[in-house]
Symmetry: C2
Subunit: 308 residues, 2 copies
């Protein structure tokens, strides 16, 4: 029995523009329709290569969805049989997952892409926070303490956040008083159990970082980091099941002996934001002034607590 | 007594296009003429801010030239008095320095720049190795074992090298048989003493990397890492005086709470190249094939020793 999943948070993983949406089954598998153009075959090529690549260590492999090959099934929009990627279902098997999809890299295009694609991405990277932050939030949903309450802002609203606003969203993601009480500051009460700890999101991101400092096999252009956890488990005092998974490999290219410096830089930026929330959840921002060389500059600006 | 220095290896640090060149004195100071447009004042603003910024740790500060303020002196081209940055002379005080100037970052432009500047940099980053490698070699000179022998390729020839060729140049930089014998493989006999060791270039680059993972004060757009050492000292068995210095701050902008992910990514790419030379100077390149999803891909290509 295949059905359309509830918890898709980002762009092209939803049915739109006449394209079929992904499907899930009861056995924890996620069926992603292959895109018609090169992207479909590029994503299959990546999963095939990655899943059989013995040089990928296990602690890195677990940060990617398990690949079960491709399968010809009826598309969700009734348009007939269509090849689907069959993947581990990372999100939909959970009952009330809080999810954030972060597209990594200040640049989503790559030299091998078409000029038209390059120009479109170049424009979008400048219009969103990708260029400035090294990443953009592509979508998110956060459950409140009552299961029925869900905060799922429009994707357009979160793609171009400032550094201060991204930090607030990352705090909301691990707070007990959001989204129920949008008027108070996020309390970050789940930060230690979700972001922190030896199995937390930060530890997983740091494992990914160490791999990207070394691996020169793949460039993960326009790829996302998905962060998932369930608030109710944390509330019950159970061990956090916070998980990081990389998704969307339709634009992966060969590394050719070069590290993926674009992904690595963006990932380090995400890591810095999350580290700051863990080390000083109430910290202030300071700025260094370069505008006026005479008035130079031990003066940092007055501290302000960020709000959104 | 001011004079024009001998050892400038990269672009705009030489007199050309009717612009005066830098000058040096006998006391180890380097006088860099201020550029007329915003770049001059931006560079002064950076040095002023940085030199008085108490949050910069000493082990990072030593990787930047010491700043001695600005001074109005006669320009080298006889065009009259002109303001100059007065800096520590990193290169010219050495007798036979081997020097490499590496411009860091896959992107040399930045959001605050003019559209014209952005488009010019965008084009040049794609035409050089900046985009693919995350850096480009802006210039270099390597002394042979006899002091009179100097290899100083045209800057244009080194700006767009492949990964394999960059590795060869980085090997030549620390080899005893280059540039004297261009037909044999670089022997990397100085790699351990110049790149390696607790005071070597790699250790200095790793200190820089750790700082860039954390600091959110400055974005060092279009800035270079200079690597300098003297072969004769290494040949005599003296302690290597290999040094890393950051230079060219005409395009520095405020970090605004965000790490410089563009610089960091490019720096990590340089670090990876140098690490590989240290760990396996004769290693081969392997590739992962993404082209054909059926033929997938534990097959790495046959090993080939790189040559240039």
């Amino acid at each position: 029995m295949l059905k359309v999943p509830d918890h898709q948070v980002a762009g092209h993983r939803q049915a739109r523009d006449g394209k079929p949406s992904p499907l899930i089954d009861d056995a924890g598998r996620f069926y992603k329709p292959l895109q018609d153009d090169d992207r479909g075959s590029q994503e299959v090529a990546f999963y095939s290569s990655f899943s059989s690549n013995t040089r990928v260590p296990d602690h890195v492999r677990r940060l990617f969805p398990v690949f079960h090959g491709t399968q010809l099934i009826e598309a969700s929009d009734g348009s007939g049989l269509r090849p689907h990627l069959v993947l581990e279902d990372v999100v939909s098997s959970r009952s009330h997952p809080s999810v954030m999809d972060i597209k990594i890299g200040s640049r989503t295009w790559y030299p091998e892409a078409s000029e038209d694609y390059i120009q479109r991405c170049f424009k979008k990277d400048r219009e969103t926070s990708s260029l400035s932050l090294g990443f953009r939030i592509s979508g998110l949903q956060i459950y409140g303490n009552e299961e029925s309450r869900l905060w799922k802002p429009e994707n357009k609203l979160v793609q171009n956040l400032s550094a201060a606003d991204v930090k607030v969203v990352l705090k909301k993601f691990v707070s007990s008083n959001f989204p129920d009480d949008p008027n108070s500051d996020p309390d970050c009460s789940f930060a230690a159990s979700v972001y922190g700890g030896s199995n937390g999101i930060l530890a997983q991101l740091l494992e990914l970082k160490a791999w990207f400092e070394d691996q020169t096999m793949y460039h993960l252009n326009s790829c996302s980091v998905l962060m998932v956890y369930e608030k109710e488990k944390v509330l019950k005092g159970e061990r956090s099941d916070a998980e990081v998974k990389l998704i969307d490999f339709a634009h992966v290219t060969e590394g050719k002996g070069i590290i993926d410096h674009n992904f690595l830089g963006g990932l380090c930026s995400v890591i810095k934001f999350i580290s700051e929330i863990l080390t000083s959840p109430d910290e202030c921002t300071t700025k260094v002034c370069l505008q006026d060389s005479d008035k130079n500059t031990n003066d940092s600006e007055n501290c302000t607590t960020e709000g959104m």
